[in-house]
Amino acid sequence: MNINGILQIVVYLAVLLLLVKPLGLYMARVYEGENVVINRALGPFERLIYRIAGVNPDEGMTWKTYAVAVLVFSLISGLVVYALQRLQAGLPLNPAGMSAVSPDLAFNTAVSFMTNTNWQNYGGETTLSYLTQMLALTTQNFVSAAVGMAVLMAVIRGFRARSSQTLGNFWVDLVRGTMYILLPLSIILAVALVSQGVVQTVADYKTVPVLQATTYQVPHLDAAGQAVKDASGNPVMDTIALTQTTIALGPAASQIAIKQLGTNGGGFFNANSAHPLENPTAFSNFLELLAILLIPAALCYTFGRMVGDTRQGWAILIVMTLLLTPFIVLAYSAESNGNPRLTALGVDQTSSAIQSGGNMEGKEARFGVANSALWAVTTTAASNGSVNAMHDSLTPLGGLAPLAMLSLAEVVFGGVGCGLYGMFIFVIIAVFVAGLMVGRTPEYLGKKIESYEMKMASLCFLILPLMALDATALAVVLDVGKASVFNPGPHGFSEVLYAFMSQADNNGSAFGGLGGNTVFYNLLGGVVMLFGRFWMMIPPLAIAGSMARKKVVPPSAGTLPTHNALFIVWLIAIIVIVGALTFFPALALGPIVEHLMMIQ
């Protein structure tokens, strides 16, 4: 670790926290239907959308209606994404001539985008046409994010309602979130990214000559497409001269902006934000990093403002920040220490003025270890899933940090909207146990937490272990699961564990060595993502519905304060203990044992 790396982390967090209040306030005003300047210009258009769609914007929905609307919209979204992939070969805007995506991969990708996961079993520049990227992926990047935020708004309204039945109107929340929050921010970010060198074009891939002509070898294939082997059983290789290279291009900036802002993470290119055309400079990297946590962080303030007590929002933001920071430090320090196996070869991994040093495998020179570690932890804290370094090549403890963030159920910032409503589940559990400890039926924001709320909260915190652990167990016993593992030993186990935790959490990042594009992983992963999204979404809505009907108990000295330091510490303890107790055995067999083997 060096001073400059620490400084970058501090500056990042400081800028992020400075933006929380203005953006949070703005979002609260958007969702409350207050005047936010652009709605003056776009207001008529907003009302036109409601008229076309047959929506009465003043009609409140019960939690059940709200949930049904969310599910119907998501289902249709999934179907559209699936159809576009399967039909892309015959549709326009396909300059690279991509063929139809296979059914299982199309299913996985459709689920991946409708659930705001953006797990990439596809390789952007090698699988999808420009049209699919734009109509299916970019659109879903917007609306699946807006769905998460809308559900959060419904949940917040449930907390603050006084003996009410309704939680707002899903269609209104969806339209406002997309038009007034995600679109304007994306336009600003996309233009800024283009200025840094992110490509934005609908022209064909560009072929350029290489400066030094080289050759490479590929297996010689027979007429049937099988690799030919020589007498001794070695494959026969063809040598091919390389004099030019084709650079994949496309309308990347517009998609990258929203994939960062909407905690989507699905890259335009396979290498995601490590790709130089997706994230060309240190400054573009800073902007993209900022975009990962920007909305989830600001939503804390939005929440506080909407329930009329901003201290509640700040308390949660502090909890998130305090949970995030140690893992950034852990990852940065582990990556800085580098790989002892390379040191043994005579490799210089020390940090100095002229090199970042540390474990540079799977990292870009312009980012170095500090920015890569920072990104790895923030992208897994938020359920973003974009990467600017290959997580599979992280050191064991460097990889433990993102795995740990995943095991905290994506409530440390988390996905836009879903992170915060997931956090409420932990708040409810923390309030419940603490409430008992002070001898009162627990209450949060003046609403009593009773058995119905506990039932729903328990359903929520079950889903991550249920999906992640069971799917991992299945994959490591079945041959089809084991066959995709890339790295040997405990690291291979981490690959599988990471994959299913990431999908159950709707994160989307991966230990990329795992060959995920198989029928087994595509289907199982798709199911895990579906449950991870909607099983996490319905119970909080149900809680909101139940909370909305309750009377508000006025606070007194006997009320457990949920905004002071003590509660912050308690909430952190609950989150860490539940996460650690659930995943410690698995993590012990993955990164922990790998680390101990490495330092031996």
Binding site: Q8, E125, V143, V194, T214, F283, S356, E361, P488
Partner: protein, 192 residues
């Protein structure tokens, strides 16, 4: 359920047009008007002809060129239409073998050099297309390149410095040397 079907279909359709077509189109328009160089891949022109991208690395193994990061793209290194990292775990034997092979190649091209090898020269980048290396990695190779080209090492170092980008605002990111641009500059200098 059915009552929500119409808004679901229509709102998705409307947003597909707005966010899926209009939004990228507007960004493309702005990009092509205000940032045509960046928006089209930062293509370097040499005598009016494209000579690679300033942002996409290329494979070098000739001693007279600076070498870049290792690349794990398939089927050949620095395949700019199939970005990928190696995904090798830290204890994977292939990682050390690959690193050892690079070290051997570097040593073979520059027998007298006994310095420790900067880590970015023996590791694969995340994208497989990393256009840059650390100043340390450039310095490690400067003597070799100078010798192969019969140049004064100071001249080579000067070119390295010219193609080095410092930290943004003195703080963000890491200082880096653009390998392709540096090698183009070296060739240019020799032609003169």
């Amino acid at each position: 359920m059915l009552k929500q079907l119409r808004p679901a279909l229509l709102i998705l359709a409307i947003f597909t047009v707005i966010t899926g077509v209009l939004y990228p189109a507007v960004i493309t328009g702005i990009a092509q008007v205000f940032f045509p160089y960046q928006a089209n891949g930062s293509i370097i022109l040499k005598n009016g002809q494209p000579a690679g991208s300033a942002l996409i690395g290329q494979s070098f193994d000739d001693p007279k060129y600076f070498w870049g990061r290792l690349s794990a793209t398939a089927p050949f290194a620095y395949n700019a239409s199939a970005s990928a990292g190696s995904n090798l775990g830290p204890l994977n034997g292939v990682l050390t073998q690959t690193a050892q092979a690079r070290i051997d190649a570097l040593r073979a091209a520059d027998p007298g050099n006994t310095a420790l090898v900067p880590v970015d020269l023996v590791t694969a980048s995340a994208s497989g297309l990393d256009p840059q290396i650390s100043p340390a990695a450039a310095e490690y190779q400067a003597a070799r390149v100078a010798k192969a080209r019969g140049l004064d090492i100071a001249a080579v170092r000067q070119l390295v410095a010219q193609n080095t980008t410092g930290r943004t605002l003195g703080m963000l990111g890491e200082p880096v040397v653009n390998v392709l641009q540096l090698n183009l500059a070296l060739d240019d200098r020799q032609l003169k």
